[in-house]
């Protein structure tokens, strides 16, 4: 896959690092990685940067992942950008809520780099 700009949204700095590492282990060619600690911070990043993919946690303080995804259609830089939720919330309700809100994929923690790779690949291929 070509150069990809990614925004990783998670309140845990450790998890942001792990997600980035998993993307690299999945042989994604990351040209730029932006980080945000919650949905509100992520919207600030998107106000000035355009990305190819957003990976987002659900349970976060200030603005959670579902609320963040609902805001995205109003953000010029995020229009058409696929969002994949990465979260400990693996229940059917949460998956349905996330997909209804506009997420394209859903990865449940704990995860393996292989799982990340297959999910991200299918989401990015669907974007083409």
């Amino acid at each position: 896959m070509g150069n990809i700009r990614v925004l990783i949204v998670d309140d845990s700095s450790v998890m942001r690092k792990i997600v980035e590492r998993s993307l690299r282990q999945a042989n994604l060619n990351l040209s730029q990685v932006y980080e945000a600690g919650n949905g509100e911070e992520a919207l600030c990043v998107l106000a000035r940067e355009k990305v190819d993919l957003i990976l987002c946690d659900i349970n976060m303080p200030v603005m959670d992942g579902l609320e963040f995804v609902k805001h995205l259609p109003t953000v010029e830089n995020a229009k058409g950008t696929p969002v994949v939720m990465i979260t400990t919330e693996g229940s059917e309700n949460h998956v349905v809520q996330a997909l209804s809100a506009g997420a394209r994929g859903y990865i449940r923690k704990p995860f393996t780099p292989d799982l990340v790779s297959s999910q991200i690949s299918s989401v990015l291929e669907g974007k083409k």
């Binding site: 450790v14 590492r21 400990t88």
Partner: protein
């Protein structure tokens, strides 16, 4: 750390102990590349000076906690991030919080009916041993002790249903 008096778990709740252990094993295996082993001897809790807690709210509510030593926390962070032990001083508490969060999520998804009707709080981490913990629950309390690279870790759940 001292806790409230342990309630006697029901037979149904006793069956949750192996589920909790399995949930922890899966998290450590997938995210840390480490295998947890059963503890053959009782663990007192002395020296386990880092506690992470995640609240559960919904059809079942209560608290899931993880207690470990500083060395164990550093090792967790090191394995999760693939970094040297000397580089994880600032991230080990965050790592322990995330591990507890993932174990709680994994646990509730394995208990029939709990996944959809129960939400998790963001994790809280306490450093120190000299404190009392009282969760506003009185239904059951289950402890599971495992060894992580020889270091004891105690997972506890205190629940109301």
């Amino acid at each position: 750390m001292t806790g409230q008096e342990n309630q006697v778990p029901s037979e149904a709740h006793k069956a949750w102990a192996p589920v909790l252990e399995l949930s922890a094993r899966e998290v450590f295996s997938l995210m840390l590349g480490a295998e947890l082993t059963p503890s053959s001897e009782p663990v007192s809790g002395d020296g386990l000076n880092i506690t992470s807690m995640v609240g559960l709210a919904g059809s079942v509510y209560g608290l899931l906690s993880l207690r470990c030593s500083s060395n164990s926390a550093s090792l967790m962070a090191s394995k999760m991030l693939g970094e040297d032990l000397g580089c994880v001083e600032n991230t080990r508490l965050d790592a322990v919080g995330e591990v507890c969060n993932m174990v709680a999520g994994n646990f509730k998804d394995k208990i029939a009916g709990m996944g959809n009707g129960c939400k998790l709080s963001v994790p809280t981490v306490i450093v120190g041993e000299d404190y009392s913990l009282r969760a506003l629950t009185n239904d059951c309390s289950i402890d599971v002790t495992v060894l992580f690279e020889g270091f004891p870790i105690i997972f506890s759940i205190q629940l109301n249903q």
